[in-house]
Symmetry: C2
Subunit: 308 residues, 2 copies
């Protein structure tokens, strides 16, 4: 294989009660990336569309990951990389993770698939560190594994793939403003009460149980975030209105995607997901903030090859 | 039905990563309780064996629960209660919960079963409040539901019954010293870092996932407690030696049962549970502390009627 084009999905991390531990990939939007082998053993970013990102290969998440993989395998080729970004950085939809995870997946294909999904997640984390300042795994693992994933631990890294109930849909609204992950982290309290930790933990347990048993109402009752949402929602215009509108329209829950400003809702069935989209639209149409809305099944495959 | 005798099992709460949220019942030990209807509309405790507990019906966990249920239903009978305690108070094995949950179960039978398991858990919490100062639900729900349970939330109370892998055994060592729940609570820090909260939460997610998928190794890797064990283990003589001996003998994990001093280990299969028991025995035999060891399958039924 001399070249590969892929679709690397946008991802929702945190998922209310799953702060820093849970994530899932969506179908409706993601980056398109092409990687071409070159004889010359160097990496070049030949095209970036849709976002202003560094072309310096030591500063771009995709090329940093690719470089680490070529170095690790002592590969006898170089790469030309084209990035078509469909999700802006600072969206809360794992924009850098799409690039990092996409690069890990694509370069692995070009190398003849020497690496496991867990190893690809480790490589992708290098890109996350360059792009966000922290080698978080939730978004990249969601893109690589597909479906719902739990980052069980970091030392060692362990990813648990969770089941996805058949009728689970997601509606995402992405206000076109930027929130830096660092800023979203800075508004959180560094410590929390044990009581709140137990609440969050028990809700995560409930959500995971609901995923295994297709219990949509248990999923709904578990989509509660006492750690991040109470503090981060002030960064997101009209958060309470959006949440209220989503729940009123039948969403199982509404929460902040990653560190925002994107908001996600989980819904049982496409019809409700569409109703929630209309409700989100009607809230934001009354403001002067541009926004995009995506309706999608949970993406259970993760990154896909679109063309060789 | 004019009288009922029951077996109300001992229970393990917290379960390492499941601090204040998870619990399970064991088969090997529990209280024997008899409830007899009387014409006179009053409650009397006619026998208490195996522990020094109040016979004042407003101070005894079992009678307090029974009284609340008779009052709630405007019952036209009274009760004579006999308690044979097999687990001492302050054990960490849900001694008061056996009494509270047993009373809720038995009185419900005598009333013609008007109440759901969730309602029985609510009644049993009244006994926990009298006995421990706090209406915690993890032990009583474990006894009432059987198997592994998750206290998903308190407001409203929600109990999620989790599956129990077929080969899961538990070995418990109960050093015959008393630790008051209040004291065990007082050594905990009131707040924890978000990083620790996420670790605990992710491990609980891993454990629950392991229970659904019969993944014993995932269960093992998830039996980690960063909230309570680091602080409470100093209250339990030879904790590190016991834990080490259990793990060396093949236990999936070893942790503090409730607030101690009892320690539990989960094991895959009876043979390993027996090996772990021998290892525990050899540690404590070298000390001057009396102890009891129990080997048991997880009790999936909860409280049982032994005789009508």
């Amino acid at each position: 294989m001399d070249s590969i084009s892929i679709f690397s999905p946008a991802t929702v991390a945190n998922v209310s009660c799953g702060f820093d531990a849970l994530g899932f990939a969506i179908n409706a939007v993601g980056d398109e990336m092409t990687f071409k082998k070159t004889v010359k053993k160097e990496i070049k970013i030949t095209k970036i569309e849709g976002a202003v990102l560094p072309k310096d290969i030591k500063k771009n998440a995709a090329s940093v990951v690719a470089l680490a993989m070529l170095n690790k395998t002592k590969a006898d080729f170089g790469l030309e990389i084209e990035l078509i970004k469909k999700v802006k950085p600072g969206s809360g939809l794992g924009s850098s993770a799409s690039s990092s995870a996409g690069a890990a997946f694509a370069v692995n294909q070009l190398l003849g698939k020497p690496f496991s999904k867990l190893e690809l997640t480790e490589f992708a984390r290098i890109g996350e560190e360059i792009a966000c300042g922290s080698p978080i795994a939730d978004n990249v693992a969601s893109a690589i594994y597909g479906g719902f994933i739990l980052v069980k631990s970091y030392e060692p890294l362990e990813i648990v793939k969770l089941p996805v109930p058949e009728e689970l849909y997601v509606t995402v609204i992405h206000p076109q403003i930027e929130i830096k992950t660092e800023h979203a982290r800075s508004v959180l309290k560094p410590v929390i009460s044990i009581a709140d930790a137990v609440k969050q933990s028990a809700n995560l347990g409930g959500l995971i149980s609901g995923l295994y048993t297709n219990d949509y109402q248990l999923i709904s009752r578990s989509l509660v975030d006492v750690i991040a949402e109470p503090y981060r929602k002030i960064l997101i215009p009209h958060f309470d209105k959006i949440k209220h509108a989503g729940i009123e329209s039948g969403a199982l829950g509404v929460g902040i995607s990653g560190s925002g400003p994107a908001l996600f809702s989980l819904c049982k069935g496409e019809a409700i997901a569409n109703d929630v989209a209309k409700a989100f639209d009607s809230v934001y149409s009354k403001t002067n903030i541009d926004f995009k809305i995506y309706i999608s099944k949970i993406n259970t495959e993760g990154i896909k090859i679109v063309e060789n």
